[in-house]
Symmetry: C2
Subunit: 204 residues, 2 copies
Amino acid sequence: MARRTKDEAEQTRHAILDAAEKVFHKHGVARTSLEEIARAAKVTRGAVYWHFRDKIELLEAMCQRVFLPQEDVLESLAAAESHTPLHDLKKACTDALCLIAKDRRRRRITTILYQRCEYVEDMAAIIHRRRECKDRMLERCQRLFERAKKLKQLAPGWTPRMAAVTLQALMSGLIINGLEGRKEFDLAKAAPTCLEAFFKSLSA
Amino acid sequence: MARRTKDEAEQTRHAILDAAEKVFHKHGVARTSLEEIARAAKVTRGAVYWHFRDKIELLEAMCQRVFLPQEDVLESLAAAESHTPLHDLKKACTDALCLIAKDRRRRRITTILYQRCEYVEDMAAIIHRRRECKDRMLERCQRLFERAKKLKQLAPGWTPRMAAVTLQALMSGLIINGLEGRKEFDLAKAAPTCLEAFFKSLSA
DNA sequence: TATTATACATTCATGAATGTATGTATGTAA
DNA sequence: TTACATACATACATTCATGAATGTATAATA
């Protein structure tokens, strides 16, 4: 094969990322070779090494193509100071979970991040991103709960901090359990209901 | 080395399991070789292959040495029909999370299962065990919530099913977030507080 | 139009991990 | 005391996977 135009090169880059997504999802990150990914993308390892330094860099690039669930939440949370903070937060969380259920790419990548990779040294960059975005979300949630408290909308028994930590955990748990793909526990259906009930309990 | 007595053999078996626990925790399951484990246990690969067929079987045996968090919950839940189901459940959940925080082996193995291994085909046995024990816990929780409802102890807005699903998710999430080992979010401290608040919201 | 950089494919050397086969010293039962 | 089984250690063959080196045809560029 010979030199391609820039557009075509970009296409093969995406083809490689698409292939990585599928193969990582199927066989796990550690057990898939770059050869396998190359085959799935209908190129050779040469192409893979041209676009990415190694497997980790490929994995990172693959993850960069989507927002993580918490980033989705932050994204859909308007910057403005709403007077219905709990309602806004509930909607943002529900939407984020439904996105995972509906958007194939997000779902696959989330699955890879939760069940198909190992968090060790060389995953530092990915670990950092996940940690940071979780931190950002936690802080943001806490602020919203503080605002809710000021507006007398937060049920007694909840401090803003605790509510934020609990919500954060609930989100993570719903994602994990949802990804396990049981018939009887479907993210798109169960999660909104759970969040509905949870936020009702949080509301004064 | 020569033939050891049965007791000594059992000792080396445990030494290998202990070593596996440490090395898996440090470098992840996929990236640790049996040679590494053998060295850590001060034996050779010969000993490892004598006691275990391959890495997966070793991993399985390692996990069998502890209860999973959900099994801890089920274990501490008395079989009897209590008249304070919510209180019992809260205690069982809290205890289970504190166990992870305090018991080093449990903590390491839970970390391995949540962050240091990939769930693919050959993990079938482990996947099965986790799924099954989650199912059992879910069912048990649902029953307790049903009982709570009959006793008028369940807050309106919660169905037993939904409460069980939510609790299950919350537990998983608290474990994950707790295992990340942030200073500001400690399992032993945050989790009981969260569960306290959550169960208060669940109580009529 | 000649040149150069690009976008790959191909080839090769190397290392690491695995599983198996075999050796061997010792406990144990007859 | 002899057999045999056990609990390993050692040695070996084989199988990938990796990364680098090199080849090459073409797009871009001057």
